[in-house]
Symmetry: C2
Subunit: 201 residues, 2 copies
C-alpha cells in the first residue's frame, strides 16, 4: 500500500500544482481570459497534462468556485462573536462588499461567471451553507421583532440580491454612470442607504 499511497499523494500534489498555477493566472487575468495553455505554461507542463488531473476547464472552475466560498465563509465566521443579530446582519453585507473589492475575480467566479453550478459539487453546498447562515441571522432578527410578516426565504433572497447588486455593478464596471463618486463611496454609502431601510423595517 505504501507505494500506492505515495502515488496517490503525488497525484494530489500535482493537482494542487495545477490549481496553484490556475489560481495565479486567473487572479492576474480573470477567469475567462485564462487559458489551459497559460496554466500549463505557468507550471512548465504540456497542455495535455492538465487533462490527466482535471476533466476540463469547468472542473478547475468548480475547484476555485469552492475555494472562494471557503474564503468568504472564513470571514463570516468572525461574526460569531457579534451578539446582536441585526449587527451581525449589517456586518454580513459589509463582508460581502469587502470580499468583492479584495477578491474581485473570486467574486466574479462565485456569482457571475457563465458556468452551470452543479448541486452535486461541494462549492454549491457551501454556498447553501452560507445562505442558510444568512437566513438564520435574519430569523433571529425576526425573533427580535424586525421584518415583521415577511417570508424568511424571500427576505433572504432580497438581502442577498441587494448586496450582490452592489458588488456585481462594481465587478462589471457599471458604476461609471455615477460620476464624481468613487466605487468605494458608492458601495459603502449605497449599502448604508439599504441599511437605513432595514433599520426602519
Amino acid at each position: 500500500m505504501s507505494i500506492a499511497e505515495r502515488k496517490q499523494k503525488e497525484k494530489q500534489e500535482m493537482s494542487k500544482l495545477i490549481l496553484d498555477g490556475a489560481r495565479k493566472i486567473f487572479l492576474e487575468k480573470g477567469y475567462e481570459h485564462t487559458s489551459m495553455r497559460n496554466i500549463a505554461n505557468e507550471i512548465n507542463y504540456s497542455p495535455g497534462s492538465l487533462y490527466f488531473y482535471y476533466k476540463d476547464k469547468s472542473e478547475i472552475f468548480h475547484e476555485l468556485h469552492e475555494e472562494g466560498f471557503h474564503i468568504l465563509m472564513g470571514r463570516l465566521k468572525v461574526l460569531a462573536k457579534v451578539a446582536d443579530p441585526f449587527e451581525r446582519l449589517k456586518a454580513i453585507g459589509l463582508i460581502f462588499i469587502d470580499f468583492a473589492q479584495d477578491h474581485r475575480d473570486y467574486y466574479n467566479l462565485m456569482f457571475i461567471v457563465d458556468e452551470r453550478v452543479q448541486p452535486a459539487k461541494p462549492g454549491f453546498q457551501i454556498a447553501q451553507v452560507a445562505i442558510s447562515y444568512l437566513a438564520g441571522v435574519l430569523e433571529e432578527c425576526q425573533a427580535k421583532g424586525r421584518f415583521k410578516g415577511m417570508d424568511l426565504e424571500y427576505l433572504t433572497f432580497m438581502f442577498l440580491s441587494s448586496v450582490h447588486g452592489i458588488c456585481a455593478l462594481f465587478c462589471k464596471d457599471r458604476t461609471s454612470s455615477f460620476i464624481n463618486k468613487t466605487n468605494e463611496e458608492l458601495m459603502l454609502n449605497g449599502y448604508d442607504c439599504f441599511l437605513a431601510l432595514l433599520e426602519r423595517g
Copy 2:
C-alpha cells in the same frame, strides 16, 4: 450627390443587415457564444466583410447595448401616466425584472457582459438618462416625505443595485440555492420584500 447618397444608404442597409444577423444569433446563443463567423454565415457574407462595416466585435456590442437601453426606455415611458411617484418607483423595478426575464441576453449585455462601456458611446448616455429618470422619481418621492435624510445619488444607486441584484442572480443562474422556489416566485416576491422595506422607509 445622388449617387453618393445612395452609396451611403447602401452602407447603412448593409450595416443593418449585419446587425440583424448579429441580433438573431446573439438572442439564440448569447453574446459571448456568438462568433463573427456565425454572424457572417447567417447573412451569407464572408467573415472579413463584417470588418468593413464594424471596426470589431465590440462595436457590434455597443450597438446592441444601446438597442437594449432603447427597449428598456420604451417600457419606462409608459410610466408617465402614473401620477404617484412611489407607485411609479415600484413599477420601475417591475419593469426591470420583466425586462430581464423577457430579454435575458439584452440584460446581460447591458449590465453584466465584460465590455468596457465607453462614456462617448450613445449607449452609455441613454443609460445615464435612465438613471437620471430614476433619480427624478426618487426625488419626487422624497418631496412627498419618503426616504428622509437620504442622499439622492446613493439612494438611486441603492435602488438600482437591489433590482439589479435580483436580475443578475437570475441571469447567471445563481438562484438554484433556493430550492422549491421558481425564478418567477423568487424575483417577484423578493422584490415585494424590498418594496415593503421602501414602504416603511
